[in-house]
Assembly symmetry: C3
Homo-oligomer: 259 residues x 3
């Protein structure tokens, strides 16, 4: 069974490695895959977006653990959501919700059964003391309902909706990757709904004519629009950083229009 980890722990302090030690101590056969430990600190939405666009690439039965958890130790609930052959474990702060939204949640559990946590649960590191041991026990076949009490709702981060007419879609930047590529919330499906015609894309005062088939279709340094690997409209610069060149930030508006 695969267990993935998505955290804002970085790569300096051993926190992710310790979670793997805890998992290996419970289920030596579990295969742990790091999805990211580079989530911007306490950026629950970035983690939720990344998880949403990653889960389709993992086999059925994979357990996804996400620990971006500014509320660790508070009353926020540790939860498990199961559905569509996937399992999600993490704090109930929305970090799981965008990925759950592309699954069919069958079951949500408040992880109250301390028998599946470490004996001593710290107030600062539930990744180690709650989420890793629960994931490892689940990977051994423990039933979700043994891990705690059924719940009927959990915190949702809504997918940031676009505003669409027949000729325009108004969206915004929702994620920026390490290359400085600007991911918007405008999907390939949104673009397909537009009336026929040439597309143009506007960010601030800049207008891009047409959708590029791939990065290298443009000269280095040119701002282009592409449909990216998340199936989202992305503004990018071949061999450059659109984030830097545009001075763009998450939340900036982007409009697609038929011209």
């Amino acid at each position: 069974v695969i267990i993935t980890l998505t955290t804002d722990f970085g790569h300096k302090d051993g926190f992710a490695g310790i979670m793997k030690g805890v998992i290996a101590g419970i289920n030596p056969q579990a295969q742990v895959i790091d999805l990211s430990h580079g989530i911007p600190r306490q950026d629950v939405t970035s983690a939720a977006l990344l998880l949403r666009h990653s889960v389709n690439y993992f086999p059925r039965g994979t357990i996804h653990v996400a620990v971006v958890d500014p509320g660790v130790g508070s009353e926020r609930r540790p939860i498990l959501v199961a559905g569509s052959g996937r399992f999600f474990i993490g704090p109930d702060n929305g970090v799981l919700s965008l990925a759950c939204a592309v699954s069919t949640p069958l079951q949500a559990i408040h992880l109250t059964n301390a028998a599946y946590h470490r004996n001593h649960v710290s107030s600062t590191f539930h990744g180690r003391d709650v989420f890793a041991p629960v994931a490892a026990h689940l990977s051994l076949g423990i039933a979700p309902e043994s891990l705690g009490e059924a719940i009927h709702d959990f915190v949702q981060i809504p997918w940031p909706a676009v505003q669409a007419t027949g000729n325009t879609v108004l969206g915004e930047i929702v994620y920026i990757d390490v290359f400085g590529n600007l991911f918007t919330n405008i999907t390939a499906g949104d673009l397909a709904m537009l009336s026929k015609g040439t597309l143009a894309f506007a960010i601030g005062d800049v207008v891009i004519q047409g959708l590029a088939s791939h990065y290298a279709a443009a000269a280095p340094g040119t701002l282009i629009a592409v449909v990216n690997s998340w199936e989202l409209l992305e503004l990018a610069i071949h061999r450059g950083s659109a984030e830097q060149q545009c001075g763009a930030r998450i939340g900036d508006k982007v409009e697609a229009r038929v011209i």
Copy 2:
């Protein structure tokens, strides 16, 4: 068998990956877990502290390899220390010593048997040429005493002692994590030894009243004191960096007192 790696190699140059290749060539069944490759360059003490506070979370029999090794190629000895069902491998510069101190060292070996090293040992990368192959052979069941000569001491980094009275404990910052949280050498046990009363914590001119139960117990931006996942007194800022806000550095004094 699990082999953990703790180094200052970073993530750019493939050094850790090469160590894993060497291990896999000797024991394809060994499970390698990265504890950290982000130790500040040549910071032996940080690596020693991280290893000390990680080993309890790995199963019995785990082999911990630590390579923070400014003296590579010099007369400093490559060593193995075994005890309490754990094995530690690395240079004899103190990097293993804080973790060994929480084990019961039964056996220390100077790794002189070249039969368990790579054929050609470079003078700049003993992680690849000595420590990885020795760890892999050990994981196959080679006895420690086959790997070299018994030794009776090795370099110790002393745990930095606090100065305690019945009403105060004077300690210092010993580690700063990626979030800018300030780890002190004052343990939960030290605090428990104080006389009854409300606690206050002083760093420079700043005084914190009381011990917080968890990060989110305070308003964002407030400096708090918590007992952290290493069971140490930590100064932290919920959704902020205590390192930046306090301008704090390793070695700065922190005092806990009963008020």
Copy 3:
């Protein structure tokens, strides 16, 4: 079977983790080892050098996947090169060529058989949609010739030649590691070809007398010359950064001479 990954994807966005998910979905037994995800963005030559100097440390049969791919989605070919018991998979932009040059290429394949790619191939992430699934199928024993059409050449990055006389070798900096050590293209073999005598090394106006046996042979802060773990002449500073102290860059000339 081991599959290594070498990319410029960084550690923030989950791209490498997604490749591992794809591989695990096809061959759960494959063992994936990260060689580097920290290649400077789109620096094909750095990736090619790192791969060349890493492959000898992996067991026979290892599959090396390198995705530094500014031309993704363009006409550049996805290829497989097999030889000397190693397999290399990546874009045909030279990233594989330095490692292939130390193997004996027996077979090169243009990866045209879409049956071994993901159903939907994006134009921006062939690591996920082409290279990871091809590597996974290869690791299951699919024959290289089933993966596409035989080709008879692929893009070569030439090893940057030195200019040698009996008394001098003129080379250049070809790689800089995370410690700021300056790797030149002057090999230990080049130095061995020089006439007998004391060696000196010049970079800009600075001259280093003699070859150091290891880093700690010099006082901290002193610029030294060593033969490093890639068997290349390296300029380094014990407990410091030669890159910073010399203001050096890739391409800067370095001369070794007999004095």
